[in-house]
Symmetry: C2
Subunit: 347 residues, 2 copies
C-alpha cells in the first residue's frame, strides 16, 4: 500500500529550536531561555540540540542580524544543562570559519552540521576535514534541495559522504516540497550513500512539515529535525511535540516523552515565543514559488513601486530558479512582468 510507514524505523530526532528558531526569535535568545529549552528537550529524550545563530556560527552581524547573547555563551549554557542530549551547532562555510568552530568545540559542541547550497557541496570539504580533526560528529546539509532533482542531490550527498559526513540531510529550506518530492529525494540519497545516514529537515510553508517528514521516513530517512512549536524561519519547522505524538501513533517513537514535549511546548516555549509561526500569505508564497524568504521584502517593495503583484514576481523568480545573491533579478523580472501586462492590454 502507498502512503504507509511499514518500512520506516524510529528516527534520530534533532531539535533546532535554539538555531532555526533563532530566526523567528530575531536572534534574541537569552541564557535563561536557552537553559529552560535545553532542559525540557533533554528530559524529553531528543538525541541532539542545535544551538547557534540562525545562520550558523559567526552569523551575528549587520547582514544577518546581531545576536543578543554571544552564541558561545548559549552553547556553554546548553552543554552545562543537558545530561543526555548531544550539543550541535550549524556552520555555513563562508559565514563560520575554523576560528568559530574551534570556539564552539571549546564551549561544548559534540556535533557540527555543515550547510551548503544543494549545488555547492564541494565547498564543504575542508570544513568536514576540520570537524573530523576536532573529533566531532559531522552532518551535511543540502539547502534548498527542492530546486534540484533526486539524482543531482545524490551526487552532492556522495561528495559530502566522501569528505567524512556521518549524515547528509535533504533540507527543504523554502518549505516548497510536496510529500512525493521529499520521498524521492530521501530515497535517492538512501540508495546513493554507502555509509552515511540520511536526514530530512522540513519547513511548513505549504502546511506539510509533518506530512513531508513522514514521507521522508517512509523513504528511509534516519534522522529528522524539529523545533518546539515549529519555531523557525518562514512558516516554521516541524513542531517537535506534534511530531513526537505522530511518531508514537505510527509505532516509530525513538524514546521521546510525548507528554513532556506537549508540556514543554505549552509551558516552556509558549511564554518565550515572539509569535507562533504559521503558513501565512507571505510564507505560503515562499513555499509556492520555491524562493528564498529574503526575496519577499524586495519583491513587495519593487512590486508596489511598479504596480506589479509581488506574488507574481516571486513565482517568476521561482520558475527561473533564482538563488540567494540574485536579488538583482527581482527588478528585472518585475519590469518584464509590467511590460508583458502592458502588451496584453495594448492587444
Amino acid at each position: 500500500m502507498s502512503w504507509d510507514l511499514s518500512t520506516a524505523k524510529p528516527p534520530v530526532v534533532v531539535d533546532t529550536t535554539l538555531r532555526d528558531g533563532s530566526h523567528a526569535h530575531r536572534h534574541q535568545y537569552t541564557v535563561e531561555e536557552a537553559r529552560a529549552i535545553a532542559q525540557a528537550l533533554d528530559e524529553a529524550g531528543v538525541y541532539a540540540i542545535e544551538v547557534s545563530h540562525g545562520d550558523g556560527l559567526g552569523g551575528s552581524s549587520l547582514q544577518y542580524g546581531f545576536s543578543r547573547t554571544d552564541e558561545m555563551e548559549l552553547i556553554r549554557a546548553v552543554r552545562e544543562t543537558v545530561r543526555r542530549a548531544k550539543v550541535a551547532a550549524l556552520l555555513l562555510p563562508g559565514i563560520g570559519t575554523r576560528k568559530e568552530l574551534k570556539e564552539a568545540v571549546e564551549a561544548g559542541i559534540q556535533m557540527v552540521r555543515i550547510a551548503t547550497q544543494c549545488t555547492e557541496a564541494d565547498i564543504s570539504e575542508q570544513h568536514f576535514g576540520m570537524a573530523k580533526e576536532m573529533g566531532l560528529e559531522a552532518v551535511g546539509f543540502l539547502m534548498m534541495s527542492h530546486m534540484r532533482p533526486p539524482e543531482f542531490l545524490a551526487e552532492q550527498a556522495r561528495l559530502m559522504e566522501g569528505y567524512g559526513a556521518d549524515v547528509v540531510y535533504i533540507v527543504d529550506s523554502a518549505g516548497a516540497m510536496l510529500p512525493e518530492d521529499a520521498y524521492a529525494r530521501v530515497k535517492a540519497l538512501k540508495e546513493a550513500l554507502s555509509r552515511a545516514k540520511v536526514g530530512f529537515h522540513a519547513h511548513n510553508n505549504l502546511g506539510l512539515a509533518i506530512g513531508n517528514t513522514l514521507a521522508a521516513l517512509a523513504a528511509g530517512a534516519d534522522w529528522v529535525d524539529a523545533t518546539l512549536r515549529g519555531y523557525g524561519a518562514g512558516a516554521g519547522n516541524a513542531p517537535l511535540e506534534v511530531l513526537a505524538a505522530v511518531l508514537d501513533k505510527a509505532g516509530l517513537n525513538p524514546g521521546l516523552d510525548v507528554f513532556k514535549l506537549l508540556d514543554a511546548a505549552e509551558y516552556v516555549m509558549g511564554p518565550i515565543l515572539h509569535f507562533q509561526p504559521y503558513p501565512d500569505r507571505d510564507s505560503v508564497a515562499i513555499g509556492y514559488a520555491g524562493v528564498y524568504s529574503t526575496f519577499l521584502l524586495h519583491a513587495k517593495r519593487i512590486g508596489k513601486e511598479l504596480g506589479v503583484d509581488p506574488l507574481a514576481i516571486l513565482l517568476e523568480l521561482g520558475r527561473r530558479q533564482a538563488v540567494a545573491g540574485q536579488e538583482d533579478w527581482i527588478l528585472r523580472v518585475a519590469l518584464e512582468l509590467k511590460e508583458k501586462e502592458a502588451g496584453a492590454l495594448a492587444d
Copy 2:
C-alpha cells in the same frame, strides 16, 4: 513510487469556513462577515460554501452554543452574495429536523451534508430521502472515521449511497489519522461505492490536515474540504489558501485562484478570526488520543480534582473507543488510573 499523486485528479473543493469555522468563532458570525467571506470564496472559485451552526442546522442551543445570527439569515446572505458557488448546510440527524432543512432550502441552500457517527449511517435514511425530495445535492459525512477500519466504513458508506448520497465523506473529526489511515479509508470507499463520489474532511490536530488531504487524493478522493486560515474545530481544518497552493503545485488545481485565496486569508479572514487555530497541547492530545474535543475540559477538571494527568485520561478513553455521550466514562477512567498509580507506589 509511493507518496506520489500521479493518479490523483483535481478535486471538488468545498469551503466550510462558515460552518466548521463557526466552532472556532463560537458561533458569533455576523451577516457582514458571512457576506465578505462568501464573496471572497466565490470569486476564488470554490465549488460550494457550507453555512450553518457548527453542529449543523438547529445547533444553536444552550447545549451546543447559541448563534449570534440566525443561521437562516446567514444562509440567505451567502446565497444573495454568491454568483457561482453552491450554498450548502450541515445536518446532524437528531439536532436538525425536516423543519430546519425546509427553512434552509427556502433560505437558499442547494446542497445538504448529512452527518452521522461512522457507526450509525443507518439513522440517516430518512434524511437523505428528505434531501432528495427537496431536490438537494446530498452528501454523507461519516464522523470520527479514525475509530473504525476501512472495510467497516465502506459498509456504512454503502448504506448512505443506497439512501441516495451523491458523495460520502471520510471525516477525521478528531484529526487523529495518519496519512496511511486516510489513504486506506478513502481507498476502501472508492472500491465499495458504485455511483457516489468519495470525500475527505481533515482536521489538523496532528499537523496533518494538508498531508492527509493529499493522501486522500492519492487514494482517489473526489471531494475535499477546507477553510480559510484552517478556521475550525480543534486545531482547525485544512487551510484553503494553503491547499490551493499545494494543489496548484501538484498539477491538481480545480480552478482555484491561489492569489485571491492568499489575499482572502490575509485581508478578509485575518481581521475576522478570533484566534489562529494551531496544534496546541490540547488539540494534539485530542488527535493523539483520538477522542472528542468535548472530552478535554471534563478530563482537565476531573484530572485536577483527582491529581491524574488529563492527557493520560484522554489516552485511556481513546483506547476504550469512547464516543460522544460517554462523558461518564471520564470519572471512571480517572479513578482507575489513580488506583493503578497508588498500587504501583505501594509495590
